[in-house]
């Protein structure tokens, strides 16, 4: 990527294109960051850093190509290269929270009155969503990543391979293992709720 000057954009052009082409990806990008870091402040920092880099390297972004995949790739690299190192706890998974969720019977007997009433007013849809989130959050970050990219954001295997810098075969096998893991966790939950899987 040496002499790829293309057309040097004026600052106004650059700002306008940046806003029109990259800022619309903010929502999925923030959601991705949140699912990686499991923390809103960290997600905020990561997204800001990503856009800052994207702005700096905007000349390398070819207009009309996949802005979303490009930004996701930058974010994922930032997460791996800098963010994980900076963060004091590399794998932030709050197991106690998840465990608490599974053992609701115990909670009910003790001081969990308030949370139980909240649970009743919550719709079934929300409960399923919370359960999926809890299960997903316990997966290793590499597994979580492929599931988010594929099932939530609808990237193709080829796009995922580019975002993650891995061969398509690895995308497939990782996705397969990730789904098996997620399935196992959710089946445990389904059984505890009295459903037969």
């Amino acid at each position: 990527m040496s002499d790829q000057t293309g057309k040097q954009l004026s600052k106004e052009e650059k700002d306008a294109r940046f806003e029109a082409e990259l800022l619309p990806v903010l929502d999925p990008l923030y959601n991705f960051a949140y699912r990686l870091t499991l923390d809103e402040d960290d997600a905020n920092d990561l997204v800001q850093e990503t856009y800052l880099k994207a702005y700096r390297f905007f000349d390398y972004f070819e207009q009309g190509t996949n802005a979303k995949a490009w930004l996701f790739r930058i974010l994922k690299n930032s997460f791996i290269n800098e963010f994980r190192k900076k963060s004091k706890q590399p794998a932030k998974v709050d197991y106690s929270e998840v465990e608490g969720y599974y053992n609701t019977d115990d909670v009910e007997g003790e001081s969990g009155v308030a949370s139980t009433t909240d649970m009743r007013t919550e719709s079934v849809q929300d409960l399923i969503g919370d359960e999926v989130a809890s299960a997903l959050n316990t997966l290793p970050v590499d597994f979580r990543t492929v599931i988010i990219l594929c099932d939530l954001e609808g990237f193709t295997y080829e796009e995922m391979a580019k975002i993650l810098d891995i061969p398509i075969g690895t995308v497939r096998s990782r996705l397969h293992r990730a789904r098996n893991s997620l399935k196992e966790k959710l089946e445990k939950y389904a059984k505890s709720m009295g459903y037969n899987s």
Binding site: N44, Y55, V132, I147, L175
Partner: protein
């Protein structure tokens, strides 16, 4: 009928079926992710019409994908984030 050679060592039907099932279960992700070729789709659909266990596995895998796609709540982007991004860009130019 014609080939005496292959008929001499026919595979047991169970064996054939098991090999098919393995092939089909290896295709599950491709199918639900819309990444299968039309040949693979044809093979797959033909198989699950006759094989209950693969049919059920397909249903389960679709359900799993649907749980993430349809039920995982999206987090709301903080209102201040766009402004922070723009500000950060301007100050580090």
């Amino acid at each position: 009928m014609e080939s005496k050679f292959t008929e001499a060592y026919p595979k047991a039907p169970d064996e054939v079926k098991q090999a098919d099932c393995e092939k089909v279960s290896g295709m599950l992700d491709l199918i639900i992710d819309g990444e299968a070729s039309s040949e693979e789709k044809l093979y797959f659909n033909h198989h699950i019409e006759e094989c209950v266990s693969c049919f059920e596995n397909h249903q389960k895998q679709k359900l799993l994908k649907g749980l993430v796609a349809g039920h995982l709540k999206r987090v709301i982007v903080p209102k201040s984030l766009v402004q922070s991004i723009k500000a950060k860009i301007q100050e580090t130019l």
